[in-house]
Point group: C2
Chain length 197, copies 2
DNA sequence: CCTACCGATCGGTAGG
DNA sequence: CCTACCGATCGGTAGG
């Protein structure tokens, strides 16, 4: 018989990180205090430190956890036999889906990673640059093959990745359209925007 | 003979706000301290309060100053005789140009307005919603006229406005392409993405 | 997991 | 514009 903690939804540490993701998204990392977090979790602030080492550690777990998921997916796509345009669409859809289903952590990762202490900051920064370069390379290859129109590839990457962040405002505004419809609309506009012809 | 303060570039208060915009962009509003700001300006922290009433007042001036500029431009475009698609392009170009030439204030406005104290927060929130609704209405009209393809207009607005924020990373990465080329690439991808046929 | 508390730092004020 | 300082709050620790 295994020892079940909390309400059966992972470890106590996971519960804390989940609450922290919501809190950091709402207030920003700097403005969110450990006392706020403790209240959300239902303990005294000091008790949090039995599960986590520091406030910064929570941010690290969020940022590197999300980043890793994107990197693993990028590996998959790169090794597939899809056309370059299909690869771009796949990656775009992954970002949209992550933003829809895990928006708190994704949002925090994207907006608060600057607050990571060294050496995590530099580490994250490098991972991010590498990821974008890999994405850029796919688009450049697609241009070379004539699948994608002659645009500046890094600019295209910026547009694709930034657009996805707008889903935040879809989330806040009571789901006027379904997640599936949102995804199709975004893909339609963006893939059409870079496709040749 | 008028009294010239600072290095002839506006009032002392403007100097402070300009330095604050750079600081808030770099560290975030919450993590930027008045002592940091004072050091940048070259005075003691207490001296700042001879020119500004509070830290929050600086954020207000930045956010409402930028928002107002966009609203004034929206008025102009709405009253013009352009096609709806041309109106969308005009507004998109305005956002791109503002982000290129005034990126510190625009970035801070977009990322830190949540930290405005009430009633400024609600006020800003309303202005923002109204602006987006006006932009959405232009796109909906363009769809009705057959200039723009049948997409969800609010989703299109999200994509157009969010994409522009990516210019931040262009700014950081040593201007690989010119501002003009960046603008043309963004317009090409995004307007092509929403245009009919 | 709690009580009690630490040194540091925060935004801001008094008074000159 | 400065010195001196305020009360509040911060992240985190000691000790149980």
């Amino acid at each position: 018989m295994s020892k079940i903690k909390g309400s059966g939804k992972g470890t106590r540490k996971e519960t804390i990180i989940k609450a922290a993701a919501a809190l950091f998204r709402e207030k920003g990392y700097g403005a969110a205090s450990m006392r706020d977090l403790a209240e959300k979790v239902g303990v005294e602030a000091a008790s949090l430190y039995n599960h986590i080492r520091s406030k910064a550690e929570i941010l690290q777990e969020i940022c590197f956890g999300i980043a890793n998921e994107f990197i693993v997916y990028m590996d998959e796509v790169e090794n597939s036999q899809l056309t370059e345009l299909e690869k771009v669409e796949k990656i775009l859809r992954k970002h949209i889906q992550m933003m829809i289903t895990r928006h708190e952590r994704v949002y925090v990762t994207d907006h608060e990673w600057k607050h990571l202490p060294e050496p995590y900051y530099s580490n994250f920064h490098n991972q991010r640059r590498t990821y974008r370069k890999r994405f850029t390379a796919i688009i450049e290859q697609g241009i070379k093959k004539g699948e994608i129109k002659r645009i500046d590839a890094p600019t295209a990457v910026i547009i694709l990745l930034q657009s996805v962040n707008g889903i935040e405002s879809w989330h806040r505004s009571n789901h006027r359209i379904s997640a599936a419809a949102l995804e199709e609309n975004m893909v339609s506009i963006l893939i059409e925007g870079i496709k040749k012809n």
